[in-house]
């Protein structure tokens, strides 16, 4: 793999950019691999990457039914934060956030991590108490967050109306090292690094069945033939229930549409990420100048990657109230992704009833931020059978009543 650098750009500039290589190979599937990962979203690719990087397991294929990062990884609003309430969450999300800090260098691929700061507005007394509690929990967990005053909120984000008609801003939970990153680049960077280690990233290859013998996984059936493996990782987000059914078990989650939209590009007006959970909307500004907007999930089971219009209306209404200057803004694009929602709003990283088969899912509305940490933990789980990062996130927590309850902590998506 040719490294990307300022020097390489200068060199290519002198020869009409004819020397760049393909970022990753497009091989045909082999008959079998040590490990197959289903799903080339961020989590699947990161899992493969750390299997190779941390455990030297490189006879790996990542099978993707569509294109790289075409699932939720390429559809999300890229908020990165780790100010969760429960210790197990803080551990994995903070691991991820800290890996994001140096991910561009690590992958030699610019993922545009921008730790511009994330604030979650408190607009009711209940939220004030909740976020104070989270700030204290974060202090114990070693996650740097702070509860800030309305005046500080206004200083950090002058375009916000803090005396808002329905819900004045009473403060905010502020994580200065939270922020955003370029979502596609995260998938592309990991894919390029995986390909460089000799792994096969195989696009347009849909898994249609999971093969097993005596309760142990032996491979998968795909639209490009049968492929054998000794270990299988299912990392397919909204399609987890569907693929789990192929493997013969049910999951405690449901697939629902979550939408986002972006505006026409405007001049820089906001250099932090703002989440307003009570009114149900959040916003940041991309480097291109578009306002990136998201809100809550739709209500019903859905596999169409389209959502209902009235949810967008609700989100936009909330944001116009919070940021009056956007009321004249034109919206450019709107889209949906299928998110896999668990009851406690925490992910599942687990062994499964099928021996040799592991699953990483349930990230729901908020898994982009977790990609590096999830891949790190999932790789350890698949290589060694256990990982401190994933221990609490097993499937058995539902039966045992050990929920990692983040549904109260984060009222809104992402």
């Amino acid at each position: 793999m040719k490294r990307y650098s300022a020097f390489a750009i200068a060199k290519e500039a002198l020869r009409q950019h004819m020397g760049w290589e393909r970022a990753w190979a497009s091989p045909d599937p082999r008959a079998s691999y040590d490990v197959i990962i289903i799903g080339a979203g961020g989590h699947g690719l990161a899992t493969a990457y750390y299997l190779g990087k941390n455990f030297g397991i490189t006879n790996v294929a990542i099978l993707e039914k569509g294109w790289l990062g075409g699932g939720n990884t390429g559809r999300n609003t890229t908020i990165i934060r780790s100010n969760y309430l429960q210790d197990a969450s803080a551990a994995i999300y903070e691991k991820a956030r800290s890996l994001y800090e140096t991910l561009s260098q690590e992958l030699n691929y610019n993922v545009m991590f921008s730790p511009r700061g994330v604030m979650m507005l408190a607009q009711t007394q209940h939220e004030v108490r909740g976020y104070l509690r989270t700030a204290h929990a974060n202090a114990l967990q070693g996650v740097t967050t702070e509860f800030i005053t309305p005046q500080r909120v206004k200083e950090l984000c002058p375009i916000m109306n803090i005396d808002g008609p329905r819900y004045p801003v009473l403060g905010a939970l502020w994580q200065p090292r939270g922020g955003t990153a370029r979502h596609d680049a995260v998938a592309w960077g990991y894919a390029r690094a995986c390909s460089d280690m000799g792994m096969h990233v195989i696009q347009k290859c849909e898994v249609t069945g999971v093969r097993s013998e005596g309760g142990r996984v032996t491979g998968v059936t795909t639209t490009r033939g049968d492929i054998g493996c000794s270990k299988l990782g299912i990392v397919v987000a909204g399609h987890s229930g569907h693929v789990a059914e192929m493997a013969g078990f049910r999951l405690p989650l449901e697939s629902i549409a979550l939408q986002a939209l972006v505006s026409e590009p405007i001049k820089p007006c906001m250099d932090v990420v703002v989440m307003a959970n009570t009114v149900h909307g959040y916003m940041s500004q991309s480097d291109k100048g578009e306002m990136v907007i998201g809100g809550g999930t739709d209500g019903f089971n859905n596999y169409t990657q389209r959502g209902s219009f009235h949810h967008i209306e609700e989100t936009v209404r909330a944001l116009v109230e919070t940021f009056p200057m956007i009321s004249r803004l034109k919206m450019l694009r709107q889209w949906g992704g299928i998110v896999d929602m668990t009851g406690d709003r925490s992910p599942i990283l687990s062994a499964t009833p099928l021996e040799g088969c592991f699953i990483n899912c349930g990230w729901g509305t908020g898994g982009f931020k977790a990609i590096p940490g999830s891949g790190w933990g999932m790789a350890e789980l698949m290589a060694k059978g256990a990982s401190p990062l994933t221990a609490e996130f097993g499937l058995n927590r539902f039966r045992e009543g050990r929920f990692i309850d983040e549904s109260v902590a984060a009222g809104v998506a992402h």
């Binding site: 229930g241 569907h242 449901e254 089971n301 209902s308």
Partner: protein, 109 residues
Amino acid sequence: MLILHCPCCGIDADETELHPGGEAHVKRFGPGASDAEFESYLFGRENPKGVHFERWRHANGCGKWFHAARDTVTLEVFGTYSAQLTAPPQDIRDAVTAKRPGWSWRDFA
């Protein structure tokens, strides 16, 4: 925009009038149920890519609950029926079969 016919008050209600209530016909086991049975009742979901039976409440209308049969891939609605039933009635099954030949009612756990 999803439109469902409320079998309780007879109105074609649009989504903003309705509140979704998740998978229907989830089987609750009696006293003495095993942990696995209770787990499956509380958390296990079919979450199918295709025909789905679900509960809805006509929240901003008559306020009553009902059931709907819907496809999660095409968003097509096959029909709605009473919340009193523990399984989809024959006319609903026939309506699904007409559109999805070979489909069969699974015993949703």
